[in-house]
């Protein structure tokens, strides 16, 4: 899974495969964190605004 695992073989397929995996994971993590942080900031700064939406 990681280049430090002993069966890691430096070959193209592995880079493509693992590359896409990490890309997906990073995208998901970024989205989650982005939403969470935005929500957090919203909550702290514009709490009242939000409440007034509903």
């Amino acid at each position: 899974m990681f280049p430090f695992a002993f069966e890691w073989v430096p070959e193209a397929t592995r880079y493509v495969f693992m590359g896409s995996l990490y890309a997906v994971l990073i995208t998901l993590i970024i989205i989650l964190h982005y939403c969470a942080i935005r929500a957090f900031l919203d909550m702290i700064c514009k709490k009242d605004d939000h409440n007034s939406h509903h």
Partner: protein
């Protein structure tokens, strides 16, 4: 910003989620998972490799020890690989004159017998009912004392002749010790368990005037005609015969040896043979004589040998002028291909072709001994097959057959017998061997139980059994069980809980064959004399003792002349003394082989009254055998009728023997049982082989249960449809149906011996039964 309760909770939740997420991104969770994987596998004994954790075998120095295998009469050399003091693997010994590195499945599984749970840990005394399997551990002193008392009492009462010993062999120091014990004690009843050797030794004695067992030069023969011998199924010395088989299968196709198998069933041997001729079971003698007919008629026989070195080939007349029929006339008139074809079911044309091919072959060899050679068989059949070897002059020649002596060892001082010993040992044997009825025969292992059940229930008061399992291996198991019940005192020297030990009153466990010294005489069927030496590969695993030592202790405790017949300190001393100057070689090399041994030339080979090979057996009259008719002096075909009424039992049941299934005194180890085919054993039921045509007649189909019934008993079996068996014939594997040992063997299948009764050979009294009549019904 207002820090109210809700916001506070939200912040806490957010932070913990963040911390959790962050932790997930580190290797900590992987490490924890790894730990959990390992930890959970050690948590519960089930995960600990079947409880092996903690008793996983230790590493150690790897060593090798050479010895000999004693699990069958094959006598292969073995090399045991050891790690520390554990034996971890048995392999064939490279360069050993019998098996040169090869090993059979049973031999390879030997360590399961050594370390198995069926070992007898110490002397055991029966406490429950006989056969209940309840024993208590007792000390060696108590055990020996018990035997001494029982045997002492019998001797005092003048009943020493009611003690019998049953052994698997009569050669080698240990069997000889038992024989000597009986001689000194005063009993004639030394019994060797049944094998084809019984009959072959007699046939060789009668036709060639020799003592000793048969030796086949299989390796150099190039046309092998086998009359039902399971050449690659454990016949003879199994590995050696399989290696010979490979020799026949080596080289260019056109130079290879020809193998022809005569057998009602497509055994492995038949399948590997170049030609398989299924004939009606029990008609082998007729076929042999039919072949002789063609060979004689077409003058294909070895005229030089026949003219100069045989007696009774042509008609002859004695000094009084009375003319006797010779082999030639008998065979020419009676065994025409047409007549033989009618008996055997083999087309006349095939008989002609086979006879010609056999006689014209460079080094033809006819071999005899059904299956693995575990049954005695018919004397005339053996003689008829042996006559084929004589016709081709194939006696004492390369690629031929000979009577082979043993490696000579130092003899023991004559036993000084007291009056009891003299009178006891002169009494008639319980099995009737050597009596007026059966003057030629030495042992009648299938007959003693019949005699006991036939009104002489008290004939055996004590029975000692060593390296034999008569309770399991003797035909007609029910009769044997009944006879056993009538014996007040049964002592087993067995190392494993076999059937006989299970039904014994006292078990005096011998060392396992990998724990002891013992001489192993020439393996069965070998053409050159070999003496092998068992040696302790591992130290005794349990509280066991040499059977020889135990026997000598018993004798010594009895005092008097019985004690003085055993002047040796212990068994090992006796062994060394007996081996004499050969001991050094035996200890070092592990074996002695007489490589240069050559059977005597024809001119000196025969010890018969005529000094020649006898087709007409003159020794019959000398020995006092009552032969009714002229033809009885010649090899001829006398049908051995299988037991049972053809109307009730329309089918014929024949036992089949498998290389992967030990059927003698040794119980099949789990590894071997594991290799059995799905069509041989399923859970606890064995399969019988039935031709699909026969099966259709009885409404049976593959894998279904059926009731197999003979005059001797019945058993529930599974049906396996097999195109390789003659219609009307059923094949049942030998070696299953054990009640002793433990769950790895006990309760699986049926003991074939329990379904087959004894059919006595009219001349020898040995069992000539090759099968039994049976019926098979759907259940």
């Amino acid at each position: 910003m207002k820090l109210d309760r809700r916001t506070f909770i939200e912040i806490i939740v957010g932070l913990s989620a963040g911390a959790g997420g962050g932790l997930m991104a580190t290797p900590v969770n992987w490490k924890l998972m790894d730990d959990m994987t390992i930890w959970s596998q050690e948590l519960w004994p089930r995960y600990q490799l079947g409880g092996l954790k903690g008793r996983l075998p230790q590493q150690g120095k790897v060593t090798h020890a050479d010895s000999v295998c004693n699990l069958c009469p094959g006598g292969c050399g073995i090399t045991v690989r050891k790690v520390g003091d554990r034996a971890i693997k048995i392999e064939g010994r490279e360069g050993y004159p019998v098996n040169d590195g090869g090993i059979c499945p049973l031999g390879a599984a030997g360590l399961q017998l050594l370390y198995g749970p069926w070992r007898i840990p110490s002397p055991l005394k029966r406490i429950g009912k006989r056969g209940s399997g309840n024993f208590e551990k007792i000390s060696w002193d108590e055990a020996i004392n018990e035997v001494v008392q029982k045997l002492g009492n019998l001797r005092q009462k003048g009943q020493s002749h009611t003690v019998a010993c049953i052994l698997g062999s009569d050669e080698g120091t240990v069997p000889r010790l038992f024989d000597r014990f009986l001689t000194a004690y005063g009993s004639p009843n030394f019994i060797r368990t049944a094998s084809a050797e019984d009959t072959y030794e007699l046939a060789l004695g009668l036709m060639q005037g020799t003592t000793g067992s048969v030796g086949y030069d299989l390796e150099r023969a190039n046309f092998i005609l086998s009359f039902g011998s399971g050449l690659i199924e454990g016949w003879g010395s199994p590995v050696r015969v399989i290696q010979a088989h490979s020799t026949w299968r080596s080289g260019d196709l056109k130079d290879r040896a020809t193998v022809v198998q005569i057998e009602p069933r497509l055994s492995n041997t038949a399948a590997k043979a170049d030609n398989w001729h299924p004939i009606n079971p029990g008609t082998e003698a007729a076929l042999a004589l039919g072949l002789a007919h063609v060979i004689i008629k077409e003058s294909l026989y070895n005229a030089d040998f026949i003219e100069k070195h045989t007696f009774g080939f042509e008609d002859w007349s004695d000094s009084s002028g009375k003319t006797y029929m010779g082999f030639k006339r008998l065979v020419r008139t009676v065994y025409t291909p047409e007549a033989v074809s009618k008996i055997t079911g083999l087309p006349a044309k095939k008989i002609l072709t086979l006879a010609r091919a056999f006689a014209k072959a460079k080094r033809p060899l006819a071999v005899w001994g059904r299956g693995k050679g575990t049954v005695s068989g018919s004397l005339y059949e053996c003689m008829a097959v042996h006559a084929l070897n004589a016709l081709t002059g194939n006696i004492n020649k390369p690629g031929g057959v000979s009577a082979r002596p043993q490696v000579a060892t130092r003899s023991w001082p004559e036993v000084e017998r007291d009056a009891t010993a003299w009178s006891g040992s002169r009494r008639p044997r319980i099995d009737g061997a050597g009596s007026n009825r059966y003057p030629l025969t030495r042992y009648l292992p299938d007959r003693w139980s019949q005699v006991m059940n036939g009104g002489k229930a008290g004939a055996i008061q004590a029975l000692l059994v060593h390296e034999a399992d008569p309770y399991y291996t003797t035909l007609d198991s029910a009769a044997v069980a009944k006879a056993f019940d009538a014996i007040p005192f049964v002592v087993s020297f067995s190392t494993c809980l076999d059937e006989t030990a299970y039904h014994a009153d006292l078990i005096l466990p011998n060392h396992h064959y990998l724990e002891r010294w013992e001489d192993i005489p020439t393996p069965v069927g070998l053409q050159k004399p070999i003496l092998g030496m068992l040696r302790p590969v591992v130290s005794p695993q349990f509280d066991t003792r040499y059977a020889g030592d135990v026997l000598m202790t018993i004798a010594k405790s009895m005092g008097g002349s019985v004690a003085s017949a055993f002047p040796w300190d212990d068994y090992e001393t006796l062994l060394k003394e007996t081996m004499g100057d050969k001991w050094g070689t035996l200890e070092k090399a592990g074996y002695i082989v007489n490589e240069g041994y050559k059977p005597s030339a024809w001119s000196k080979a025969f010890g018969t009254p005529s000094g020649k090979f006898e087709f007409y057996i003159t020794a019959f009259d000398q020995a006092g055998v009552k032969i009714g008719k002229d033809v009885g002096y010649l090899p001829h075909y006398e049908p051995v009728q299988p037991e049972g009424n053809p109307a009730t039992y329309p089918l014929i049941l024949i036992p089949t023997e498998l290389m992967r299934l030990a059927d003698s005194a040794v119980g099949n180890p789990p590894f071997c049982t594991k290799t059995l085919e799905e069509t041989e054993l399923k859970k606890n039921d064995l399969f019988v082989e039935v031709n699909p045509k026969t099966a259709a007649d009885y409404g049976l189909s593959e894998g279904h249960h059926a009731m197999l019934e003979t005059a001797k008993g019945k058993a529930k079996v599974l049906v396996h449809l097999f195109e390789g068996i003659m219609p009307g014939v059923i094949g049942i594997p030998k070696g299953l149906g054990h009640a002793a040992y433990d769950d790895y063997l006990a309760g699986k299948g049926v003991n074939a011996n329990s379904l087959i009764g004894v059919v006595e050979d009219p001349v020898t009294g040995l069992s000539a039964a090759w099968g039994v009549r049976a019926k098979l019904t759907r259940v």
